[in-house]
């Protein structure tokens, strides 16, 4: 990574960490992990399940919210504060600006996820009194959640490169919902014939597939994740993010910033 991208990424990270909303969300997730313990107490025989399901779902959903709400403002804020012109006038290329912003935001989310994961593991230790071998799969689920954030960040950045923050949030959230229902979309495509079937299949392959990245329920039961799925999910998330970032660069290169 060249130094200009590194500088933008670091500044983006620093700015995001300064954002108080971010801290509130982390605190909320930690509270939710605590709530998981209480829910485990009032239910039967599922303390560990509740901690993993509630904890990882909270990590995932709050991470997505952070990704969307910071991602959509990355470009517009710089334009609004007129700092973008200063940055671009200092021999920083537009594509470097976009890529730097992406790395800064994903870095922020990785650090956030690590904090949230710590809360989940502490809650797990509290209810189980010890870690078990199957808990290592929780780390795989967390890795998939981070991959999910990569895609959401890239999409938020893509939409914010040509749209208003509000519309970018709507578009990104809509794609997150559609992507979470990707398996249903594929099921629909399988039973539809003719042009409709081709169209549905095309859309099913075009929208991000978040359902393959969600293994929370599986790891909560201590079931392992196939090595091949880890590889394919990694490749898929990186390629999809690269695609969205490339789209953002293409649009941002042509955008009239005056």
């Amino acid at each position: 990574m060249n130094s200009r991208i590194g500088s933008i990424a670091f500044n983006t990270f620093r700015e995001a960490v300064r954002d108080r909303v971010l801290y509130n969300l982390i605190a909320f997730v930690l509270l939710l992990s605590g709530a998981a313990i209480l829910v485990g107490e009032i239910s039967i025989d599922i303390e560990r399940l509740v901690v993993i399901n509630l904890g990882l779902t909270a990590v995932s959903l709050f991470g997505v919210v952070i990704a969307i709400f910071i991602g959509i403002g990355l470009v517009s804020k710089e334009i609004e504060k007129r700092t973008l012109y200063t940055v671009l006038s200092r021999s920083v290329r537009r594509w470097e600006f976009v890529v730097g912003k992406f790395f800064g935001l994903t870095g922020t989310l990785v650090v956030n996820t690590a904090c949230m994961a710590l809360g989940v593991f502490l809650a797990l230790l509290y209810v189980s009194h010890k870690f078990e071998r199957m808990d290592e799969w929780v780390l795989v689920a967390l890795y998939f959640i981070v991959l999910q954030f990569f895609i959401v960040c890239a999409l938020a950045l893509f939409f914010s490169s040509f749209s208003t923050p509000l519309m970018s949030a709507v578009f990104t959230f809509a794609l997150f919902v559609i992507g979470s229902l990707a398996e249903d979309l594929r099921g629909f495509a399988r039973i539809t014939h003719g042009l409709g079937g081709w169209l549905a299949t095309g859309i099913a392959y075009l929208v991000p597939n978040f359902s393959a990245l969600n293994v929370i329920s599986q790891v909560a039961h201590g079931d392992g994740v196939a090595g091949r799925l880890i590889l394919y999910n990694t490749v898929y998330a990186l390629l999809y993010s690269a695609m969205a970032i490339s789209g953002a660069v293409l649009i941002f290169q042509r955008r009239n910033l005056k």
Binding site: D45, I46, S60, S180, S217, A220
Partner: protein
């Protein structure tokens, strides 16, 4: 000291905040007292697991946990309130297990509390059977589910052939319980009712961590002991009558004739009573739940007190 304008505004705002909060809470409390039941307690707004699965955006595990907790709380509240109405228990457990087919405690709970008649359960043995079969289809390596299936066939349907088949399948699994092959054999022979029933309840007691299911099993074991002892004592009375040509007047008559040693007592320590017509009765049937023998004529088996399971 004179307060500044900003200070006065702050003070008034603070007072309004607390007064409004207290007033809102009081209004809510009054509302709760007016309504017979809190909103949502006995309603299942979305009963389709398919719709719920889509609404969860893939986070089905958490939703299943929420529905499972709701099922447990619902059963506890209905049981505590002595309503005998468990109509939502089956749909709640169905939604739970369809959202997370691997949630084994839900199947165990369903087998134990869906089948028995009210007020101990929902009185839906068919629903319990369907739930258990669904569990086996999704967790074919879990011996407990085959055990529950055999248990249901034996206790609720008296279908010994199907019960034997279920225990046999469970016994053939790589990880199983030592009682499974014995239960399979006993069902096939349909022999030793008390021993078979005892073995079933002992297996239930030993293989569950859930306190309410353990307690239920322990109470059934005590009831079985009473039923067996009363049966044996009544056989002794019959033998005495056959030998002497008259009914014994007291337990002392049986002891003097050498049929029993000492005064037999039930598991709670109360001596069994001999009635004038030669029947054996327990002294306090209200503390011996589920017993079917030793009850006064016309009395129905006593049920445990209504306590919330959690």
């Amino acid at each position: 000291m004179k307060m500044s304008a900003t200070g006065r505004v702050n003070l008034v705002a603070l007072a309004v905040l607390f007064c409004s909060l207290a007033g809102a809470m009081a209004a809510l409390y009054a509302m709760d007292r007016t309504r017979r039941q809190p909103v949502g307690e006995d309603e299942l707004y979305i009963s389709s697991p398919r719709v719920l699965r889509r609404m969860s955006l893939g986070y089905t595990g958490l939703l299943a946990d929420i529905y499972w907790t709701r099922a447990v709380q619902y059963f506890g509240e209905q049981h505590h309130g002595n309503s005998g109405d468990f109509r939502l228990l089956a749909p709640l457990l169905e939604v739970t297990t369809e959202l997370d087919p691997k949630l084994l405690p839900a199947y165990e709970f369903g087998a134990n509390f869906l089948a028995p008649p009210p007020p101990s359960g929902a009185g839906l043995p068919g629903a319990a059977l369907s739930l258990t079969k669904y569990g086996i289809a999704h967790n074919p390596d879990q011996w407990r589910l085959y055990y529950n299936l055999g248990f249901l066939y034996y206790t609720e349907f008296k279908d010994y052939a199907k019960a034997a088949e279920a225990f046999k399948q469970g016994a053939a699994l790589p990880v199983t319980n030592e009682f499974m092959p014995i239960l399979a054999a006993r069902m096939a022979q349909h022999a030793g009712e008390f021993d078979t029933a005892r073995m079933l309840w002992v297996t239930t007691y030993q293989s569950t961590k859930e306190p309410s299911i353990r307690q239920n099993a322990a109470e059934h074991l005590l009831a079985l002991q009473v039923d067996e002892e009363v049966t044996q004592l009544e056989q002794v009375v019959e033998r005495y009558r056959h030998q002497t040509g008259r009914l014994p007047e007291s337990m002392g008559d049986l002891e003097r004739a050498g049929f029993i040693h000492g005064t037999p007592a039930d598991p709670k320590g109360n001596p069994y009573q001999l009635t004038m017509d030669g029947r054996i009765e327990v002294q306090n049937p209200r503390i011996l739940y589920f017993i079917t023998k030793g009850l006064p004529p016309g009395a129905s088996p006593p049920q445990p007190p209504r306590e919330s399971s959690r």
